[in-house]
Amino acid sequence: MHAAVVVFPGSNCDRDLAVAFQAAGMKVSMVWHKESTLPEGVDIVGIPGGFSYGDYLRCGAIAAQSPICRSVADHAGRGGYALGICNGFQVLTETGLLPGALLRNAGLKYICKTVGLRVETSDSAYTQGYAEGQVIHIPIAHHDGNYFADDDTIARLRGEDRIAFTYTRNPNGARADIAGILSENRRVLGMMPHPERAADPGHGGTDGQALFRALSGMLASA
């Protein structure tokens, strides 16, 4: 069970994500953005939160064009797993691996607080450790987390059961209260909240642990 965590200039949750993967029993490799290939045998790629390339142009836009992101796209294209958190979610939408885009928060403010999330589907390697409808508490920390997609895309996400998490109280104006979505093959998850910041009793909450443990168990048995 091997996870790779991509590190861009400006990433700041890369180590937290590595620690969360490790705590769930995974081997972790850190991968610098200038690398053009992922380490041999990587099962899942984690794209961490932060401010890749200073959020220049648009959040995640420059990172999406980096050499490593081409191999992340290849990995996902082969059916590999990828988890993008916060800025990582923005990168995944900019690469086109997930539909939609993340806009400036409707209230214009950067928001850093723990929010309630409803688990909308337990049908994924990431969410199988939760019950459908379960409410968990995970921190958010973002300025551009307002999920936008056109009506057809939202309807398709709903119809295909690809909305992973919704906010119990929408903090940022996201359409359909969306906090996280899955790819068509359910192996790519993008989410604005930070499960890696609620993965140890020292964090003040452990609701994110089940995501990493389920992922580790699922991929190990696959």
Binding site: R58, A61, Q65, E94, G100, L103, L108, F148
Partner: protein, 81 residues
């Protein structure tokens, strides 16, 4: 040759920054503004032979996110720039 690329949020995409600007203008007494949309202008200094088709490809691939943004390209020769 220079190119000026205008990038705007598409109609129908909420522009909270534009809305905040409109609100501020109203508060300052500028009552005659029904709406504000805020975008960005990107100026490209092009090498000889780089044409509009290539600038369009740049817009599609990087300069604009066509999920949420529209763009327009203004090509300017050096003499008029």
């Amino acid at each position: 040759m220079k190119a000026r690329v205008h990038v705007m949020l598409k109609a129908g995409v909420l522009d909270p920054q534009g809305e905040a600007v409109r609100h501020a203008l109203g508060a300052m007494g500028f009552d005659g503004v029904n709406g504000v949309r805020q975008g960005k202008v990107i100026e490209l200094d092009l090498a000889d032979g780089t044409g509009e088709a290539e600038v369009k490809a740049m817009c599609e691939k990087l300069l604009a996110n066509t999920v949420i943004e529209s763009y327009s390209i203004e090509m300017q020769s050096r003499e008029t720039a």
